[in-house]
Structure formats: C-alpha cells, structure tokens
Amino acid sequence: MFPVETLRSGEAGRVVGVDGQLDIVQRLQDVGLRIGATVRMLREGTPVLLAVDDQRLTFRPDQRAMVLVEPTV
C-alpha cells in the first residue's frame, strides 16, 4: 500500500484508502478518486496526470490527504 503519486508512468493500482482532512477526502472521492477505483499513472510529477477508470484526472499531491493504492498487475 503506497501513496498514488509514487506510481511510475504506466504503472497501475487500485485505490484502497483515502485518508486525511475530511473535506478534502470527500472532494477527492466526489471527483472519482474513490476506494476500489483503478488508477494508472499517465504522467509523474507535480501535479500528476492519472487515468482513473475511464476518466482522466490531474491531481496535485497534497499533504492534507493521501490516496493509498495497492499495485495491480
């Protein structure tokens, strides 16, 4: 289990937890970074570019909330 922003380009994972400041957690879930979603790193760095299921999101890693993923094959 590790933060989503540590995925390398092309790597994929499944969201297993979103933790931190509650309003930020809710906001992340609303746009689609929710438990069970599949994420794939499209562009590393700050901000990251992610494929979340069938949508594309940009997200700047934020110390107030962490999106935890576990790797998938």
Partner: protein, 727 residues
C-alpha cells in the same frame, strides 16, 4: 405542484464534462454558453418548450460531481432542487445527465439525487463516444436494475433529443426509481437531528448537513436554528455515527458505490478498459512538461499573428465605410456645429471603435475553439506548477485565461474556487490580464508607430509587440499575487484536482453562438456607452469657443475646391487660408473646456512624455478603456488640419507635434501608452463585478488604486527606458 394547465417544472443536472449545456441547448433550441470549466454555467439558466401540448419549464443547473455544496455554485443547485431558491418553483421532474463512458462515477450524483424523492430521467449522453471506447451499456437491463427511464443521446448531433422530451413527460406519472436505503444508524441520526428544529427543514438538508463536514449545508442549518451550539451537536451526531461504524465521509461514498456497483454489475461491459485512447496519445505531447509549454506559447503566438493578418482586410473595409460616411455628411451638411457633431463626434468616435470588431470576433473565436475542444484543462495542468509558488493552483488559471477575452466572465468563473483566499487573489489579479478591449489601443498604436518589419523574414515585429503587451500584465500579476497572499490572504491553499475531458471537435454551434453574443455586446457598447462618451468629449472639446470665423474660412476653402477651374485664385491665397484655418482650429480646441482640463493635468503626465490631448483621452477612458480610441478620434478630428485627406486617426496622430515641431508620438511614447493601458483599471463593468463578487466596495477600490498606480509607474519606466535605448 402544477395543475394540468401550468408548465411542468424540470431541473437538468449532471457532472461537468457530460455535455449537459449542449443538451440544454438542444432541448431549448436556444444557444447558451457551454463548457466544463468552473463557472461556465454559473447561473441557473432556464427555458420553456412544449411537448404534446404540455409546457415544460427547464432549468439548467451548474455542473457538479456531488450534491455536497462547498461553494456558492453548488448551493445554487441544492436550493433549486429543494424549491428554496428565490422566485423558483420546486422541480417536479429531475433530468440527470451522465457520461455514458463513465457511468459508475456519474451515478454517484444520481444516487444523491434519489434522496430528493423526485421522479427522475437518466440521460446517457455522448453515447457515440462510449461506443468508440468499447463501452457497452445494456439499456434494458439498466432500466430494470435502477427502475428509472434511461435515454441515450448524442446531444451535439441532436440524437435522442425527442426521446428525452417524451421521457420527461412520462416520468411525471411514473413510480419513483430504486434508491439505496439509508444505513440504519444514519437514518436514526437524521431523525434525532430533525427533533432539534421547531420547524424542521427537508430531510435532504439534514442528511447533507450530517454528511458534509465544513460544507455550506451545515452553515445553512446553523442559521436556521439560531443556536450557537448547533455545530457541536452536529459533530456529536457524527462521532456517534463513527463509533457505530459509519465514518464520514468515506462511509458515504463506500455505501453509495457499493450500491452502484451492485446495480451496474450485469449492465456494463468494457472491452478496451485500460487501453490508451486517442486523447492519451495527444496528451503525450500537449501535457509534456517542456514540449507542452512550448506548444502552448507557440499556439498563442500563432493566434495573435492570425488575428493580425486575417482581421486586417475586414478592418480596412469598415474603415472605408467610415470614410465614405464622413464624406457623405460633409457633402450634404454645410460647415457648422451639426456637421462637427456628426463627423467629429459620432462618426470619428464610434467608427474608430467599430473598426476593431473583426479583431474582437477573431479573438473570441480562437478562445472559444481552445475551450470547447478540451485544451484549456491541459493548459491548467501545465500552469499548476507555475501557480503553486504563488499559493494558487491550476484551477485559477482558467478564469485568468478567460480574462484575456474579458475580465467580467473571468471573475465570475472564480466562483467554483472553493477556497476564498485563492478566489480573492484570482479576482484581484484577473483585471491585469490583457482583455479584448485593450486590442484597439494596441492595434492602433502598433500599426501606426511600430515599424512593419519581419524578424527572420517571417515573424512580424508588430505581432511580437502585441504578443509582448499581453505578457506585461501577466508577468506583473506574479509579484502582485505573491504580495496579496503574503499580506492580505495568508493561509492554506486549496486542493488541486481537475478532470481532463476527452478532446473533441469543437461544436461550431457552441463556439459560433458565443462569438455572436460577444460581437453583439461589443457593438451595443459602441452604440451606447462609447457613443455617449464620444458626444460628451466632442462637446467638451467644441465649447465654449466661437466657431463663426472658422466656418467662414472653411466654407470659402470648400468653394474654391469645388470650383477650382472657374475661380481665378492664386495658390498663395489658398495656402494663406489653410494656415489661417489650422491656426483657428488649434486655438479653439486649446481654449475649449477639454483643453482647459488638459492643461490642468499636463504637469502630472509630463514625466510620461504625453501631451495634454493624450492625457484627456486617457482620463475620458476610465469608464471603458476602448473609449480612448473614440476620444482621440474626436480630439484629433476636431483639431485636424484641413488638408488632411483621410479621416484616418493613425495619420493624424503621426502628424501631431509639440510647439517646437518635435513629433509627440515617438515609439517610446506609443509603447508607454500601451503599457499604461495594459495595466490600468479602466473598466467600470469589472469594478462592479468585483464589488458584487467580493461583496464590498473596498476590494473594487483597492483594485482600481493599485492598477492605476502600477500603470503610471509602468508607463514611466517604459518611456524612460525607451528614450535611453532609442536616443
């Protein structure tokens, strides 16, 4: 609720990037601005149409991912849905638009809507795109599973629109769709909370109040109870929920997504999941940290060059219409106050501004295309990194980008920035972005005073100056934002997370509609505000002098001109008359009210190298910056020499001299005027919208003051550096 004769009230809601506004346009047949960026559908728009004899009143709500209002924008949607919005009837049917290719996430909002207990219609839009992405949705099964009428559409091609209309009619009398049951502990908390009110609000508000920590709903509820301890009580309920296993906010999304996945299980098949799409391949280049920035800058430069090149013939055409209008009036009306009012006031003033209509139209066309094809979100992605050190994020970049067209919609687009500090800083720097009203000033001065040369044979020096002028405000916005953050708006910034819509071919209907709307607005301004200011400026420059002698000379000259062959008159005599005319003209305008005012302010603008005519024109343009063209047109037209063949302002300005014969408009002076206009707050509409959005005159006044000081300093530095370099 409606009776048989009244209209059926319907609300349209959906996630951003689902083509909701396009669907709204298709349903109403009337064009509305569309897009996916914060604030594009800020206000709830509505329309009325008739299906099978039943009138339907449709309200378009701002795009939102959830009904957890955390900003003004999102609260509008909740208020409309509950019927608590001012002057609006509660909807009887709700149409939820979802992206067919991204159903699971889109149904999150749908399940929140179910809590309203209203009849629903579920529209799966962009159905063709889902097919292309290999996503198959079994509509029959989905309808059975959700217990709701599902309609598929391709709104931008007009496919399925009639089905939506008939589904709305049918939904009114159908049973309510399936909804996820509230977990027992949550239901208990809602009913406990209800008992704390004398007249309890809708259960929906209570539920949202519990689930949305630090949201707008809890503020609203606290206001309703008039009880200062309400928030503590609310937190107490939340803690109780947490101990019983329902941890807000994660529990809500888990509960809803469990339900959604259960109900979608046998309905959706994705054959190409996880594959690279065309959009991904384009993004390989366009979101590249270096390549992407390069493409962005190159795109902008090409836009400017294109505007400069393509709009020129249209401007020339309008200019020649203006010339023949002046000539027409002159041939009919004898020299006198009426002719002066028409030619020097109305035609020179308004015409000078209207000449720039083609440029404005091209600019809005380019920005509209970039926005509608999905590129703006990529620009925001690239900009985020640059905005971060300023304590802002990429989300602020979009309102700033649209401020390059006009600061008014730009400032309104900041509404969806939830963090008020970010929002305030964005509002206060937005007017520094070089809006379309600055174009006329830049165009006039560059084409008159910047040499028509090409660097390296292809890059127009004039286009480069234009391009540079757009960066002056942008670059100065950086320290200003930093200072604002440091001294007025300290504190943490907001989260940056943003959806990147798939690239798509821009819809000509959407872009064209917007260009038309903006073009019309520009002409209306020219016809009203600018027309009135022109007349005022003309009157101030005309009175109180006695023009009788001037007109005698002018009539004599025109007689000679018309009957040149008949009258035997020496060239010397003509020259004498011309000189007398020009001298009278100059004396009259200097003695006018405007001239007096100009001499009064002359000491203040002397360090800038400006003469009193420029000073007066600049002051006249504080209500709206494009007035400066009209004001200069009028001032220079009244004071113009009679041997002037063209009414072209450029030529007149080139010939303007100080009393010792030096030209007034040197390149540094022209550049300093441009820099002044790039930085100055000369737009009453912007100040009004700042007042409205910040709810105080203080920030409007603040903006006005800092921008005006900045403009003066910028112009001074430009003229000093320019003189030092060029002399």
């Amino acid at each position: 609720m409606s009776n048989a004769a009244g209209p059926l009230h319907v609300a349209l809601i959906g996630n951003p990037n689902t083509g909701k506004s396009t669907l709204f346009n298709a349903l109403s047949g009337q064009n509305v601005r569309t897009g996916n960026f914060p604030g594009v559908t800020v206000e709830a728009k509505s329309t009325t149409f008739t299906v099978d004899g039943q009138q339907i009143h449709l309200t378009d709500l701002p795009g939102t991912y959830s009904l957890s209002p955390r900003s003004l924008d999102e609260m509008v949607a909740v208020d409309v849905l509950l019927g608590t919005a001012a002057n609006m009837t509660a909807p009887e049917v709700v149409v939820c638009v979802a992206d067919a290719a991204n159903l699971e996430r889109n149904l999150y909002l749908y399940t929140q809507l179910l809590d309203l207990n209203l009849p629903l219609v579920l529209v799966l839009n962009m159905w063709d795109n889902a097919g292309r992405k290999g996503i198959e949705v079994d509509i029959e099964k989905l309808q059975a599973s959700l217990g709701v009428h599902v309609v598929t559409t391709v709104a931008d091609k007009g496919v399925g629109i009639a089905d939506v209309k008939s589904a709305i009619l049918a939904a009114k009398n159908q049973s309510l769709p399936q909804r996820p049951n509230l977990p027992a502990e949550l239901a208990a908390a809602v009913s406990d909370l209800r008992s704390e009110f004398d007249s309890p609000p809708a259960d929906f508000l209570l539920l949202r109040g519990l689930l949305d920590i630090n949201g707008e709903t809890e503020k609203r509820l606290a206001k309703l109870t008039h009880d200062k301890t309400f928030l503590d009580a609310l937190n107490c309920h939340r803690e109780k929920l947490a101990t019983s296993g329902f941890r807000i906010p994660v529990a809500e999304s888990r509960w809803r997504y469990d339900w959604i996945r259960e109900h979608l299980k046998h309905c959706v098949v994705s054959t190409q999941a996880g594959q690279r799409t065309l959009s991904d391949r384009i993004d390989k280049v366009l979101t590249h940290r270096i390549g992407g920035v390069f493409v962005f800058l190159l795109t902008m430069l090409l836009v400017f060059q294109a505007i400069y090149t393509f709009a020129a013939p249209f401007s020339d055409a309008i200019g020649s219409v203006q010339d023949s209008a002046s000539a027409g009036v002159e041939s009919v009306v004898p020299p006198g106050i009426l002719r002066s009012l028409l030619v020097d006031g109305a035609i020179a003033g308004v015409g000078g501004v209207v000449v720039f209509l083609p440029q404005i139209v091209f600019l809005f066309l380019c920005i509209g295309i970039l926005e509608d094809c999905g590129y703006m979100a990529r620009a925001a992605f690239l900009a985020d990194r640059l905005m971060a050190p300023l304590g802002l994020n990429g989300r602020s970049f979009v309102p700033l980008m649209s401020s390059f067209a006009c600061a008014v919609p730009g400032i309104m687009a900041t509404r969806t920035i939830e963090n008020w500090r970010d929002r305030m800083v964005t509002i206060l720097i937005a007017p520094l972005m070089s809006c379309s009203a600055r174009w006329p000033v830049y165009m006039l001065l560059t084409s008159a005073f910047v040499p028509d040369e090409y660097l390296g044979g292809w890059l127009s020096l004039r286009a480069l100056v234009l391009f540079g002028m757009h960066f002056v405000g942008l670059i100065l916005a950086i320290p200003i934002a930093w200072i604002l953050r440091k001294f007025w708006f300290q504190g943490e910034s907001s989260l940056f997370v943003m959806e990147m819509p798939d690239y798509k071919t821009p819809s000509w209907k959407v872009v064209g509609g917007r260009v038309l709307e903006q073009g019309r607005e520009f002409l209306v301004r020219a016809g009203t505000l600018i027309f009135c200011t022109s007349i005022l400026v003309w009157a101030a420059a005309y009175f109180p002098g006695d023009h009788t002698h001037l007109y005698e000379v002018q009539t004599e000259l025109e007689n000679i001109e018309q009957n040149e062959t008949l009258i035997d008159i020496s060239q010397e005599k003509i020259d004498e008359l011309v000189a007398e005319h020009n001298q009278l003209n100059g004396e009259l305008i200097e003695a006018s009210y405007l001239g007096q005012a100009g001499h009064f302010i002359a000491p203040a603008i002397r360090p800038l190298g400006w003469d009193w005519k420029i000073g007066v024109a600049v002051i006249a343009s504080f209500p709206a910056r494009e007035v400066v063209i009209a004001a200069m047109g009028t001032i220079y037209s009244l004071g113009a020499d009679v041997d002037e063949e063209s009414s072209d302002l450029k030529e007149t300005m080139k010939k303007a001299t100080w009393s010792d014969g030096r030209p007034i408009f040197t390149l540094p002076v022209a550049l300093s005027i441009m820099v002044f206009f790039a930085l100055c707050s000369q737009c009453a509409a912007t100040l009004m919208v700042i007042r409205r959005e910040t709810n105080s005159w203080r920030w409007a006044l603040f903006t006005f003051t800092y921008m005006t000081l900045l403009a003066y300093a910028g112009a001074w530095v430009t003229v000093q550096v320019g003189n030092w370099l060029l002399v």
